[in-house]
């Protein structure tokens, strides 16, 4: 029997492709911003591989530029990335049976964009479920495909930003591609009343908490959205 892992891998890459349209400009803007913050090119590139979390890299660059102490930079990156703990919990049930090596690899690739397409794929159900064996679930290959597509694009677009420098005019508003990407992922998934309530409540809370330090508002808004979603479920 031919294993469907290659097909799942390619499907993950394919579903990640449209999202990359929003990621490339964002990665380039990060590269430009990091250099103008005084971060050497090698370190700016390495941050994209070591931290591998766009919004926190932006904030880190701004903190470096303003001469913030290292402890503050680490703490801020940690708080901005706290939402990934929610992604981790949400995707964990599907990764339960995988080997530790798979768990460690997929954890490294657990970004907003790879999470969003992979969780949608997992929630659709197992395409190979009819085989009905414990090993018939190949969907982690899909996650791997989506994650690798995003990872390589993030590294290349960071490099492009570093090399092209300030040649991307701010008037093109390319930073807007990222919120559009999240919008494009959220809106079609709002299939019932309680997920609409969760999305609206989280958005409203994020606006209200916007001025909190360390982007704390982001994780608080996420928690508000989850609570409102749960609370609005039909009883």
């Amino acid at each position: 029997m031919k294993s469907p892992c290659g097909g799942e891998l390619l499907a993950g890459v394919r579903d990640e492709l449209p999202i990359l349209l929003g990621v490339v400009p964002f990665g380039m803007i990060y590269g430009v911003l990091a250099l103008s913050a005084g971060i050497p090119p090698a370190a700016a590139q390495a941050m994209s591989a070591i931290v591998f979390a766009g919004s926190s890299q932006f904030i880190a660059a701004q903190l470096v530029a303003s001469g913030s102490p290292a402890v503050l930079i680490v703490l801020t990156i940690g708080v901005v990335n706290l939402r990934h703990a929610l992604y981790s919990a949400s995707i964990a049930p599907y990764l339960k049976k995988l080997s530790p090596a798979w768990k460690w690899l997929l954890s490294y690739l657990l970004t907003d964009e790879a999470y969003a397409v992979s969780i949608t794929h997992y929630q659709k159900g197992n395409p190979n479920a009819e085989l009905n064996t414990a090993s018939s679930d190949w969907r982690h290959w899909y996650f791997l495909g989506a994650g690798l597509a995003l990872w390589s694009t993030w590294q290349i677009s960071t490099a492009l930003g570093i090399f092209l420098g300030q040649q991307v005019p701010a008037s093109w508003s390319l930073d807007f591609t990222l919120p559009l990407t999240f919008l494009a992922l959220v809106v079609p998934a709002l299939s019932d009343r309680s997920s609409v309530a969760a999305a609206l409540a989280a958005g409203l809370a994020a606006v209200l908490f916007f001025s909190l330090p360390f982007k704390l508002g982001l994780i608080l808004a996420g928690l508000v959205g989850i609570s409102v979603g749960l609370w609005s479920e039909p009883r």
Partner: protein, 106 residues
């Protein structure tokens, strides 16, 4: 610049541990049904918290007026996303709308 590399390494490790946290924890324990119900709302809640402020607070200040091009472009893009479920088309229409609206404002 050695401090910068150290800062990055620690921040990267911290980010990795946050991502690994529940994937590792739930490997050994059964996830309660109540928690599973709650986790269903993670994608809409967290992803909305990421993009809605970008539409409503274009220059870090609340702007609900018709002069807020990002809000109008976002609303149009939402309509496209809802009708077509097409990520590529949503981003294209949203960007085009923003640039056209900004062009009108001069």
């Amino acid at each position: 610049m050695i401090w910068l590399w150290l800062t990055m390494l620690i921040a990267g490790l911290l980010t990795y541990l946050i991502r690994l946290s529940f994937i590792q924890l739930f490997a050994r324990m059964e996830i309660p049904l109540r928690v599973k119900r709650l986790l269903r709302y993670v994608p809409p809640a967290v992803l909305s918290a990421l993009f809605i402020p970008e539409l409503l607070l274009p220059a870090d200040h609340l702007d609900l007026s018709l002069g807020n091009s990002r809000l109008l472009a976002g609303l149009l893009a939402s309509l496209v996303a809802w009708r077509t479920k097409n990520v590529f088309l949503t981003i294209l229409v949203g960007m085009a709308a923003l640039l056209i609206l900004k062009g009108f404002k001069g």
